[in-house]
């Protein structure tokens, strides 16, 4: 599991996760991811384009992160999940809490 972070403009933080968000994957990134999402940036884009698998543990991680971002007045979006991962997000109703985008510019516009 790899975590890459990037600053877009002055207030949008993009975090790209690569690897399976299963028990092992979530365990590996939980602390680092929570630390990054607590950083003093207003908004967050979570890039899931290189995540081939997402379970309920990954969903809980996303929810914790969304809560932390919205609590300080920021916005959050998910970018580029593949069909399987998007399916899990929709099945869990996450798409109603965190908007999902295919294109980076749309995600940036949504959280800016």
């Amino acid at each position: 599991m790899v975590v890459n972070d990037e600053l877009i403009g002055e207030s949008v933080h993009k975090i790209k996760l690569s690897g399976r968000l299963d028990v092992a994957g979530v365990g590996q990134i939980e602390t680092r991811f929570s630390g990054l999402t607590a950083a003093p940036r207003k908004s967050l884009i979570v890039d899931l384009s290189e995540v081939p698998f997402l379970s309920s543990l990954g969903i809980r991680l996303m929810l914790m992160c969304a809560k932390s971002v919205t609590k300080r007045g920021g916005r959050i979006a998910v970018l580029g999940p593949d069909e399987n991962v998007r399916g899990v997000l929709v099945a869990a109703g996450i798409d109603k809490l965190i908007p999902i985008f295919s294109a980076l510019n749309e995600a940036v516009a949504a959280v800016s």
């Binding site: 399976r20 299963d22 028990v23 092992a24 698998f53 379970s55 309920s56 543990l57 969903i59 809980r60 929810l63 809560k67 069909e83 399987n84 399916g87 899990v88 099945a91 869990a92 109703g93 996450i94 109603k96 809490l97």
Partner: protein, 146 residues
């Protein structure tokens, strides 16, 4: 992993310890076992997801003593027009079909522990059966082959 996947490949059966560290190996074995039935990639994903949810729940909440001292058995087989995955464990009796969680998005954070996993299993599988056989939970999840 108690038994090597190669050893039991012919009968599509795997025994793991009740240890979350065994889940990665389980997923690798399961993908290979399910692919033997020439199903689409979405079906492989569905079984991977549902097995992860069910086994994680069992290991996390299903035992009164050390889970790693227990075995969990997985078996993939064809049942008519369906492919089935049967998961057998000797944990506390737990029937995931007994409760209807019907989660709303706003409730997700407050969802009962393990509840989201059960909800996903119901959504991804075409049929789910549960039986308490002796001291074991036997959970069978089926997805249509076509």
């Amino acid at each position: 992993v108690v038994s090597s996947p190669e050893h039991q490949a012919a009968e599509h059966k795997l025994v793991i310890r009740g240890d979350l560290a065994d889940l990665s190996g389980m997923s690798v074995w399961l993908a290979s076992a399910v692919e033997d039935f020439a199903v689409p990639a979405t079906t492989v994903f569905a079984f991977d997801l549902c097995a992860n949810e069910a086994v994680t729940n069992t290991i996390s909440y299903g035992y009164r003593d050390n889970p790693a001292e227990h075995n969990i058995t997985l078996q993939v087989q064809r049942e008519g027009d369906f492919l089935s995955l049967t998961i057998t464990d000797d944990g506390i009796a737990f029937n995931p079909l007994e409760r209807d969680y019907r989660l709303l998005p706003a409730d997700l954070e407050a969802a009962p522990i393990g509840g989201l996993g059960v909800e996903l299993i119901r959504k991804y599988m075409d049929q789910v059966r549960y039986a308490r056989v002796g001291d074991c939970n036997v959970l069978t999840m089926l997805a249509a082959l076509s």
